[in-house]
Symmetry: C2
Subunit: 180 residues, 2 copies
Amino acid sequence: MADVIYGTAPNHAEGPAIQPSEPAPAGLRLADKPELAFIELLFFAYRDFVGDPDAVLDTFGFGRAHHRVLHFVSRNPGMMVADLLDILKITKQSLARVLKQLVDTGHIEQRPGPEDRRQRLLFPTQKGKALSMRLVELQAQRVRTALAGLGADGRAGVESFLRRMIDPADRDHVDQLIKR
Amino acid sequence: MADVIYGTAPNHAEGPAIQPSEPAPAGLRLADKPELAFIELLFFAYRDFVGDPDAVLDTFGFGRAHHRVLHFVSRNPGMMVADLLDILKITKQSLARVLKQLVDTGHIEQRPGPEDRRQRLLFPTQKGKALSMRLVELQAQRVRTALAGLGADGRAGVESFLRRMIDPADRDHVDQLIKR
DNA sequence: TAAATTACGTCAGCCATATTGACATATTTG
DNA sequence: CAAATATGTCAATATGGCTGACGTAATTTA
């Protein structure tokens, strides 16, 4: 990462200087909006957070979409397709492509529901579970590092913060997803 | 969001049941990997976090790529194109399309550098700054809500957590970006 | 000063992920 | 038996990203 220690490119000392006809001179400043720090930190944090798995996924010919599908299926073996779509908030057509690849490569297996045979329940194979765990471990490592300096109360604070960043209507749903 | 309170689809009571030839029976469990909560909360939190601006951007015919460009230009009026590319970690070809649209719609203006005339420094126009502030306010609102329950120490903990989720090599760089 | 480097732009093609709309096929339910 | 449900599939489209290849103007360097 080059030296991005720019300073608004020294406006020089050229007499009357350029007339700021349109361009706004002063930008958004942290002093004016304290939440800016959190907003921008979250952007960079999330990018690196999803970046680790990307490299591994690449060696499998997979992308982030595969990661998400595999993750939630590994977390909930035997889940319904409809529930997965609901969690990921994507369309079945979007799911189709990645799911097909995960099934074709033997990472996920579909089995008819024992009660309702219209269902094609999703299970991770041993192979799929192994990859899923590998990816989770990468992200867990990063999380552990980030939590390292914090005590129990600090960690609770982070968890509370993240939970409350989620739309209120979905919080309980997410809670149920996580607490298992 | 439907009732995604699935229960691994009741495995029923069918005698010997399906042979778990391949499919792994037990999934990833929170008890085994405590960081799972943070990993999944971060996923859902980030999705909603970027979701708010999306709706507004849509009415302008813009997407998330426009948002990121406009945001950092508003934060650093007069920045170099090369520095923006470095922050966003995208190629100039990717930037070109969205930047062109932002310039064409009068949200961003480019001006030759007063010292080095090869540069085409980026400035937000009043219009661009207005949109940028509107989008920031949306996200700031969400952040405020999420921080509401926390004290100064809790907020510091969140900030520390997010900062340490970033690759160590980039932390100082990000700090400089934010502290202005 | 001539040559190399830098800052930036552009054309062209390709890939990944997601969308909408339409239609098909079982299976379960009222 | 008709309707609703769970899932799949075909086709077209949008967005945002990529690589590779060139081009141009301005600055730096040998």
